[in-house]
Structure formats: structure tokens, C-alpha cells
């Protein structure tokens, strides 16, 4: 079988790439191994992620499906006091910042909406596992897939999009480099969903809450519908090991002890999902584009879940990837050594900028707080929303960069 673009993975990265490409008239084949809907973690969306959904014409569907509306994030300090509110704000070149909203989502529903949406827009979707890349020298020219029934089939493509998430398919297959551990690699996340949690009243009841205990020890609280809230605890791996508890025991105890404000909101804990855990989720792979392929989302990098950038990166990179792929097909010569080098630079810039934000937050909390509250509140609001691709860096970003650099120098010097 032959296609213009083959996409591995039916998460937000793969489905959004497929949907953006469906507007170009190219033949697109999306291959997902799991049966949709399937469970996934990653439920709170940034402001600009909301705009990716709007760009795909999905705003009304998000409303109809009653995904909780998110106006911002409240971060509670260690003693449950001194909360810090980060509103979701849009930006207009003439009028500046304005109030807007995004959503939080139950990923099984959300990803299924995107998956069926891609199919409805003319993308061929296929339930099969991609087992190997087809190579021609250093160029990728397709994939080998195995269907549920066990039949093996080859799909030839002009461009392969790896959106396989944490599986990092092309890296595993040795087509691109190996995973390099990220700064937040030595962490464990344990999570589930609860009913009966106490939420903020009125319009605020869909907002995301973050509870900070100490460096690298925090919890999330993300409404998924009228009844259910996703809760998760992130801790250093050594701390988790030392507790020597089952995931279930660990989660229940942490939810009570981590932060008084979190405990207040969970008077009795009724778990309505399995307790799951994940570790080693922070990494990057440096050269993730080349002849006949590019990576989107978690398939090349994931930094840290604290500010909910994962789905945003997957969908924003999908948008950039689709436009880069469209230009590639429009170019009759196609002689560049790497037709997707510009796309890669753009992705790196956005992710590097978010890395600065997250590093400053974890490594320099006092400085970060001063920048976010007093010196550059607007710049920080832009960054939290996901406006992180501008060529000229914002002053707030430059400040974080110099603070991080000073910290790195000090650490390597001492």
C-alpha cells in the first residue's frame, strides 16, 4: 500500500497532524495500535492548546462534549496558603492580553474525538502496530505494520510522522539518536481519579489546582467532568522507593499528607479508576527530523508534567509539522538534505523556552516567584499559555535564562 504521509500514533500529536494535513488534499494514513478509546494521562490543557483546538474547528465540539472549562491554574504553597493564580489569557496584537479559557479533558474521550474526527475528515485510520521502519540509506520510505489479526503489511510513504509518544518509535528503531535523560528523570508519578472532591464554586469549578510540597514533590487536581477529578502525586524516585508501599497505599497517604488544602478538598477518597504509575518520562532526542521523516510530541521530548505542556506541544508541533510537510510536497525539487530542519529548529526553540520556565520554577523558586508576580507577570502569562515560539525572547524569559545559567555555573563550580 502507498500513502503520501504515514503517521504512527493516534494521540493528540498524530491525530492533530492528520487533521491539519487533511486540509491539504494529501493522502494521509494514521496507524494506532490500541483500540480507541483508550486510557491516557495528560488532562489539563494550556491556553494555546485551546487555540489549536479552535484552529481545528473543534471549539463547539469541546463545549458539546462538556469538557470542563479551565480559566486558569491555582498553585498552593507548601502550607496550603499563599495561593498563586495563573489565569488563562489570550493575546491580540492590538489590544494585548484578554480573558479566555481552555479545557481539561478525560483523555479517552478527547483522543477518541480527535481520532474519529481525523477519520471524518478523510484520513485513513488503521488499527495496527507499526513494527519496523522501511529504510533506503538514511531516508525513511515507509513502515511495516502488523494488524490485530497478525497480518503483516508494508506501507510506503513520502513522509513518515512519528507521533508514538513515550514509545519513541524511531529512536528505538535506531533511525534517530537515543533518548537522553531529562532534568526531571528521577521522578515517579502515581495517579488515579476520584469522586466527591470539593471544587471551587461556580465558574471556577473546572480549574486546575497544583499543590506544592517541596522541590519535586507536588500533586495535581484536574476536573474531568461534573463528578470526577484526576488526582496525581509526583515525587522523587528515592522518596517513593523508601516508602515501600503499594501504589494504592502510597497515593491515598500522599493525598492526605501532601498539602493541607488538598486534604481539605478530599474529605473521603473514592477512587473510580485504577491507580497507575509512571517513571523515567523526562528525556529528549536531539535530531528528530531527516529525509522522509519527522517526530511530533512525546516521540522526541518530554520535559516535566508540572505546567501541563505535553498535549500543547504535541498539537502545536502537529500544526507546524503539517505546514512543513505541505511545503515539502509543494517543492518539486525536494533536494534538501533535511527538508524538515526549520521545523526542528522551531520545535527546539519552543521546548527550550519552556525548559527555562520549568527549570527556573524548580531550581530558583524565590527568584521565579519575584519574576512571575512582580517583574514580568505578563511575560510569564504568555509563557504559561504556550506563546513560546517567538524569535525575539521576552524580557521575562531572558531573566529566567540568566538566573538558570548562574545556577548551573554555581552547581558545576561547587
Amino acid at each position: 500500500m502507498k500513502t503520501d504521509v504515514a503517521i504512527i500514533g493516534g494521540g493528540p500529536g498524530g491525530t492533530a497532524t492528520a487533521m491539519f494535513l487533511s486540509q491539504t488534499g494529501l493522502r494521509v494514513t494514521l496507524i494506532e495500535k490500541a483500540q480507541s478509546p483508550r486510557y491516557h494521562i495528560g488532562e489539563s490543557l494550556t491556553g494555546e492548546c485551546g487555540n489549536c483546538l479552535r484552529a481545528l474547528g473543534l471549539e463547539e465540539e469541546m463545549t458539546v462534549r462538556r469538557h470542563p472549562v479551565k480559566y486558569g491554574v491555582t498553585v498552593y504553597g507548601p502550607r496550603g496558603k499563599n495561593a498563586f493564580w495563573v489565569p488563562v489569557k489570550g493575546w491580540h496584537p492590538e489590544s494585548g492580553l484578554f480573558d479566555t479559557h481552555t479545557w481539561s479533558v478525560r483523555r479517552s474521550d478527547f483522543d477518541h474525538m480527535l481520532f474519529t474526527g481525523a477519520a471524518a475528515r478523510g484520513v485513513s485510520v488503521m488499527q495496527a502496530e507499526v513494527v519496523a521502519p522501511l529504510l533506503n540509506g538514511d531516508a525513511v520510505r515507509g513502515v511495516r505494520v502488523r494488524t490485530n489479526g497478525g497480518t503483516v503489511e508494508e506501507i510506503a510513504s513520502e513522509v513518515l510522522v512519528d507521533a508514538s509518544g513515550q514509545v519513541t518509535f524511531l529512536s528505538n528503531a535506531g533511525v534517530i539518536g537515543e533518548k537522553v535523560r531529562g532534568n526531571y528523570d528521577r521522578q515517579v508519578a502515581v495517579f488515579s481519579q476520584v469522586a466527591g472532591a470539593i471544587r471551587d464554586p461556580g465558574a471556577a469549578n473546572g480549574n486546575t489546582l497544583i499543590f506544592y510540597r517541596e522541590k519535586h514533590h507536588w500533586a495535581w487536581f484536574i476536573p474531568l467532568d461534573d463528578q470526577v477529578v484526576s488526582v496525581g502525586v509526583v515525587v522523587p524516585a528515592d522518596y517513593y522507593r523508601a516508602k515501600n508501599e503499594s501504589k494504592h497505599q502510597f497515593l491515598l497517604r500522599e493525598l492526605h499528607q501532601l498539602n493541607p488544602e488538598l486534604a481539605r478538598r478530599l474529605p473521603q477518597i473514592e477512587l473510580v479508576e485504577e491507580v497507575r504509575g509512571i517513571s523515567n518520562y523526562s528525556y529528549r532526542i536531539s535530531n528528530f527530523t531527516g529525509k522522509g521523516f519527522l517526530c511530533v510530541g512525546d516521540s522526541h521530548r518530554f520535559i516535566d508534567p508540572v505546567f501541563s505542556f505535553g498535549v500543547f506541544f504535541a498539537m502545536k508541533e502537529a500544526e507546524y509539522a503539517a505546514s512543513s510537510i505541505a511545503s515539502f510536497f509543494a517543492d518539486s525539487k525536494r533536494e534538501q538534505p533535511n527538508p524538515f530542519a526549520d521545523y526542528q529548529r522551531l520545535c527546539d526553540r519552543g521546548q527550550d523556552n519552556v525548559q527555562e520556565l520549568i527549570d527556573a520554577f524548580w531550581e530558583h523558586p524565590y527568584a521565579f516567584s519575584m519574576l512571575a508576580h512582580h517583574r514580568y507577570p505578563e511575560d510569564i502569562i504568555h509563557m504559561f499559555a504556550g506563546r513560546v515560539y517567538k524569535e525575539t525572547p521576552l524580557p521575562g524569559l531572558l531573566a529566567m535564562r540568566s538566573i538558570n545559567e548562574q545556577g548551573r555555573k554555581k552547581r558545576s563550580g561547587s
Binding site: 523558586p365 524565590y366 516567584s369
Partner: protein, 87 residues
């Protein structure tokens, strides 16, 4: 200018009174990461106060824990900044 007095006055009224905590001695930890009363969310009003009260400019890269670790460190930091300004 009496830096220690102004600082202890601010800390007692603005931070410690609210949390019901005693005033740290000159060398006890000030920052919550070491068990002190100042966390990242009441740190910035303190900095804003220090800048305006003493008329000094604290650079972004000065916002490092070593300058705020103890009352003694903070007093020294402010006095150095102040003398740089007037030298």
C-alpha cells in the same frame, strides 16, 4: 538607616504575625526550604519592600538563596547594595 531594625519589624508584622511564628535569630534559617518562615510566595513582597525602603535595585540574578538564607546574610546583602549605590 538601621537595616536590622527595619527588617525585623517588616518580618514580624508582615510574615511572622500571620503564621504565628517566632522571629529567627541572626543565623537561623529564613527560607522555608531550610525550615524558615519565608516561602517563594511571601518572598517577593519582601523584596519589593526592601527595594523601595532602602532605595536599592536588586537584580534578577541577585535573587539567589545565599542572599536571603539568614537575617545576617540579608542584612549584609542590603548593606553591600546600599554602599555600591553611594560609592
Amino acid at each position: 538607616m538601621n537595616v536590622p531594625e527595619v527588617l525585623t519589624d517588616y518580618l514580624s508584622k508582615e510574615i511572622l504575625a500571620k503564621n504565628g511564628e517566632p522571629l529567627p535569630t541572626l543565623d537561623q534559617p529564613l527560607l522555608d526550604s531550610e525550615g524558615g518562615p519565608i516561602d517563594s510566595l511571601n518572598m517577593w513582597p519582601l523584596i519589593v519592600f526592601v527595594e523601595s525602603h532602602f532605595g536599592i535595585k536588586i537584580e534578577d540574578t541577585d535573587l539567589m538563596p545565599e542572599n536571603f538564607q539568614t537575617l545576617r546574610a540579608l542584612i549584609e546583602f542590603i548593606e553591600t547594595k546600599h554602599s555600591e549605590l553611594h560609592s
